[in-house]
């Protein structure tokens, strides 16, 4: 934990320095601009420049990081006193599987659409990480995206990414046409039926 405290503070200090430098940048089109000339408190009588506030905030970040490092050297913060590892085996594995799963989920959205990616992610999580029965995992990973599809795409018309053109034309366009032609009561019935299927599968899995 002690080493992680140092490394994190140093990385954040470097980020602060970069942000200080970045705050002093001028507009791309102004070729005569002198770096850091926008961080003054009263530039030409028109008050602080656009770099003033971010520059001093980044400076505040840098000072905090130096303070954190000094505290770590003097062993005054709990992480710098701790002999425990920053992450034990379980935490590292969990971050890899959960964080990795989330990144893969995001990559899949662009390729196979939001709802299909949700189904894949739910199935991965429940079957692989949760070790739930196959039936419950499959039904949950189909019902959850179906509910979200009905809520967002159909009821709220907040359209989510649909992946490739082929998927959109073959699956989502006909499905959208069908569900949008239904009344609100029918949509509620679809919600209820899929919920009942989920409850039955949970019951069957428990038995």
């Amino acid at each position: 934990m002690r080493r992680a405290e140092f490394v994190t503070a140093i990385i954040l200090a470097l980020l602060s320095v970069y942000l200080m430098w970045k705050s002093g940048e001028g507009p791309e089109w102004d070729t005569e601009y002198v770096h850091w000339s926008n961080i003054g408190v009263n530039i030409d009588g028109s008050g602080p420049g656009k770099g003033f506030w971010p520059f001093y905030l980044a400076l505040g970040m840098l000072i905090s990081c130096i303070w954190i490092i000094i505290n770590a050297i003097r062993k005054q913060s709990p992480p710098s006193q701790s002999d425990e590892p920053f992450m034990d085996g379980y935490a590292a594995k969990m971050l890899l599987f959960v964080g990795g799963g989330l990144i893969a989920f995001l990559v899949l959205i662009d390729m196979i659409s939001m709802y299909a990616a949700i189904a894949v992610f739910m199935l991965y999580y429940m079957l692989f990480l949760g070790r739930h029965p196959l039936l419950l995992s499959v039904v949950t990973s189909l019902v959850v995206p179906f509910w979200l599809y009905l809520f967002f795409d159909i009821m709220m018309t907040k359209v989510q990414p649909k992946g490739s053109r082929w998927i959109e034309d073959t699956i989502y366009n006909p499905a959208g046409e069908f569900f949008r032609s239904q009344s609100l009561i029918m949509i509620a019935v679809f919600f209820a039926i899929s919920g009942a299927v989920l409850a039955l599968s949970a019951r069957a899995s428990r038995q």
């Binding site: 405290e5 602080p48 506030w53 971010p54 905090s64 913060s77 971050l95 989330l102 999580y125 989510q160």
Partner: protein, 545 residues
Amino acid sequence: MEIWDALYQGIWIALQPHNLGLAVIGVVVGLFVGALPGLGSVNGVAILLPFTFVINSMTADPASPMIFLAAIYYGAMYGGAISSITLGIPGASTAVATTFDGRPMALKGDADRALVTAAIASFIGGTVATVFFTGFAPFLSSVALDFGNPEIFALMLLAFATFIGLGGDDIPKTLFSICFGLLLATVGFDQISGEPRLVFMNEREQTALLTTFGVADAEASVPFFDSVGWFSRGIQFLVLAIGVYGIGEMIWTINASRYKITMTETQISFKRIMRGIIGMKDAWKGTTIGSLLGFFVGILPAAGATPGSLMSYGVTKMTSRNPKSYGQGNPDGVAAPEAANNSASTGAMLPMMTLGIPGSPTTAVLLAGMVIWGLEPGPRLFEDRPEFVWPLIGSFYISNIIAVLVNLAFIPLFLWVLRMPFTILAPVIFVLSIVGTYAAYDNMFDVWLMVLFGIGAYLLRILDYPLAPAVLAVVLGATAEEKLRQALLLSDGNFEVFYNPFFDRDGKGQEWWIAPITTWIAVILITMPIILWLFRKVRGQHNEA
């Protein structure tokens, strides 16, 4: 008399079927969110904020989305006790103190009594605080109407100073968190000069990066991510809030609980509920202290419901004739924190609604929601938008009644839901966070950024970096900068406008006391740790001598 008329009208509007329905749904969602370990009011409100866009577009009533979110906030305060008592794990940080006596009561077979005590104390705490709110809010907002730029900036400085002086977290890490949050709010276009600032990539560089990572047809993909430039639109508040509270907290809870949670068997029936209500006579002291102390602690920016409930527990124990019974299953020890966390959650709404300065991370999310719905939180809200303010206050009363009834009636259902494995709940929360962020901004870049913030928040949390100040800072950032720069523009760059009451602001020789007093209190709070350190050092030398 005016207040009572307005309140009567407000309660009447809050009782309209659509608002009543939203309050019921909000309370039920809040109870679940509060009861589920790892999720608290802030997680629920942040993850569900994008869902209120549809409420806003469907109802003509401007208060409806806020009534829904405020009901979630209330419900979560009630719900936190359920898991504290039956699981021994606080459903939210606000219910930590409830475990001290609630869990021992459950282990002694008195779980039903503890649950009823928690529900009734929450109701009393929430109602007392709402009465205070109704009395204080119009007065405070009328005083705040005279505030200028220096006063508002000084108040914001005070809000951040309380995190440093009273927050109880590592000071440099809190300072870092505040500065980082404020800096995130500066990304995008500068609101005064209109020039881009801290925009890390232009469109050409984005296309090059996507091509490097093998994204086929990178030029076509850029508009999908954002045609203007990834950072040009700024970093949206919800991206940080959902990342921290939806992704980061969830990963943290998975690691802390390791999916292993065991529940105490609880029997509940009408007879047992009645027994619990009669048993409230043993918990009146905790309820009274919690209701009063919770409200005033809740008003303080860095405090909120968690310290409010811990302090109320401490004070009730300290003033008890039998302090040793605390921690063994004393009903007062359940009532005090539960009354306090509900009372504090209403207290935290007071500075948010009247001054535009949130008192807790949850109210910061609510404030951001109000901005998204086109409202301007602050003193003018009471003058300009009474059709929003009074129905909302009316809904506080209604939601409290709904929450206590739903809580008592459906305790068995909540206990059933709490048996849901965490390995089903966690992916559902992740999915809601991602879908919600996309629905809010129609942009995959924001979704990526949200997940990266979440993973970063988890890593920083392991090292004790407090993240609530960053969330608060990113909400207040734009206003804080605007007020600071406008104040400095009017004073020709002279900082005396903030700390010198005799500084001649308008050339009329008038004295201005509010900003200097606020600034000096903030300075004292910021330097408090150094003052205390010096005090201890001097006292140590004195004792040695």
